[in-house]
Amino acid sequence: MIVRPLGVGLPYIAALPPEIYDPGRLDFVEVTPETLCRERRNGRVVTIELVPDQLERARRACGALPIVVHGVELSIGSAQGENAAYLDMLDAFQARWPFVWHSEHLGFQTIPGEDGTTLEVGVPLPLPATREAARLVAGRSAAIGARYGVPFLLENAAYYLSGLPADAEIGDDTGLLRAITERSGGFQLLDLHNVHCNAINQGTDPFAAIDGMPLGRVLEIHVAGGSWHDGFWMDAHDGRVPERVWTMLEYALPRTPNVAGVVFEVLEEHAVRLGVDVIAEELARARDIWRSCRRG
């Protein structure tokens, strides 16, 4: 085992009643620190600062449950540079609230502006499956792993945009993750709903995609819900987990010997709409599968 198995977790969502973060329902909490922050801009200098009240409220809600970090602002694949302000903020966060591991999304969301500034694209975009992308992200992943002294995981992306360039030796998004984890010694967050989305939208076999991942490096698994929009199955985190994703979880868990946690992801606005009882049912089902697969 690379880290002690935690079990089943839920993102920290400030709008949910804090009673949901109960060890009777879940085993750990996934925190996105940016949701506890504000941004300050002074000319071209951008900083991300923790808001003490929000941090304290989150800590009170989570109690003694262990936490993992799931960031959204790093943009680890941006060729012009990752988000240094995010890492500076994460230094401060770790000093106040240590985490078992730290994850980010494999992709990019910033590009150079024409005046030398950084432009946010507004949505995360996939990386091309190239040696250059693999080298870039692997180097940054290794540095981040060393900086925080806990495992650093990259999440496989859901993408609608296909047809980006690819090097034959890398192949596709799965090959890109393999190449990055091999070079960096880093780990993977296997997002099964993203695999499900890509299988529907790109016409691929989700189970073959799982088999192609660096399964020995998977420490965390995400399950989530989505919905149809304009002919695409969207990674919307807006509802219950589809049956096929539960089946994929039953398939993936026995094949991921180092997996330490499963998280049910849901966006804040949808979490409030779904309510505590529905969320608790999804957590209970994830726990049943987790316990049954670990016994097997």
């Binding site: 940016e34 922050c37 504000r38 941004e39 801009r41 991300i48 600062e49 808001v51 959204v72 602002e73 694949g77 941006s78 060729a79 012009q80 990019f108 910033t110 590009i111 150079p112 024409e114 432009l119 946010e120 694209v121 507004g122 949505v123 975009l125 990386l127 091309p128 190239t130 250059e132 992308a133 870039l136 993408y159 609608y160 945009l161 296909s162 047809g163 980006l164 360039p165 939208n201 929009h229 304009d230 002919g231 695409f232 969207m234």
Partner: protein, 244 residues
């Protein structure tokens, strides 16, 4: 094509560019341009653009709720569309998005109008609340020290209401707006004020307007601005001290 060039091209193609050529300034050969042209024809690319615009409009709408709620539905949609087309809505942090979007809306509103007043009210409240995080009231004894100038606070504002403020604010709860009055009531906003705002006196408004450019304390006193008025604005961060 390098990773940097590819990301710049794809990112610009996905971002709204307000009619400009998204590939301007990029050194792309004909093959690379042809590959990008094929990429944008894919349904997945078009859907990615739709998602980007939807997310950007959603961020902007959430960042300027009060002001947007006062606009007719068609105008609300138009201002959101125009903002996203101008490249807005991409900031992840609400306060950053809100300040820029409210400034964009303010430039389109008639002056004077209650809509413009409420837009400035929302912007000033957000700025003051941002400034309140970590705000510490300065010691006014520093005013006696040489080497300082006074300037308007970075998280402060004066908003002018063209009717009694409570009548204008009642419109946010569905009440009809009062007629525009030639008399104005000025409201100060600052990070150190209770509730971030209070009514301004004419002496305070005069000082605020005088500090459109930073000025040294002795000059202000010579001009007739009173020390107690200055201190009353420095303490809650409406006026700031800055090193010369």
């Amino acid at each position: 094509m390098s990773l940097l060039d590819l990301q710049t091209a794809v990112g610009r193609l996905v971002r709204a560019t307000d009619g400009h050529d998204p590939l301007r300034g990029l050194q792309l050969d004909p093959d690379e341009r042809a590959r990008l042209a094929a990429l944008v024809e894919r349904a997945g690319f078009r859907f990615t653009v739709d998602v980007q615009r939807s997310w950007c409009a959603g961020r902007a709408a959430g960042a300027a709720k009060l002001t947007l709620s006062l606009l007719p539905a068609t105008e609300r949609r138009r201002v959101l569309d125009d903002w996203v087309s101008a490249g807005g809505g991409t900031a992840s942090f609400v306060a950053t998005e809100a300040d820029a979007f409210l400034e964009f809306i303010a430039r389109r509103l008639r002056a004077p109008s209650h809509a413009l007043t409420l837009c400035r009210f929302e912007q000033a409240t957000l700025r003051a609340s941002e400034g309140a995080l970590g705000f510490a009231a300065p010691d006014p004894s520093w005013l006696a020290e040489p080497g300082w100038v006074l300037r308007t606070g970075r998280y402060a504002a004066v908003v002018r209401f063209h009717a009694a403020p409570h009548l204008v604010l009642a419109a946010l709860e569905g009440q009809p707006l009062p007629p525009i009055s030639p008399e104005t009531t000025s409201v100060l906003f600052g990070p150190g004020l209770d509730g971030f705002s209070r009514l301004a006196t004419s002496a305070e408004v005069a000082l605020w307007e005088r500090l459109g450019a930073p000025e040294a304390l002795p000059v202000l006193i010579r001009e007739g601005h009173r020390q107690e008025v200055i201190e009353a604005l420095v303490t809650p961060g409406i006026v700031e001290l800055a090193a010369t």
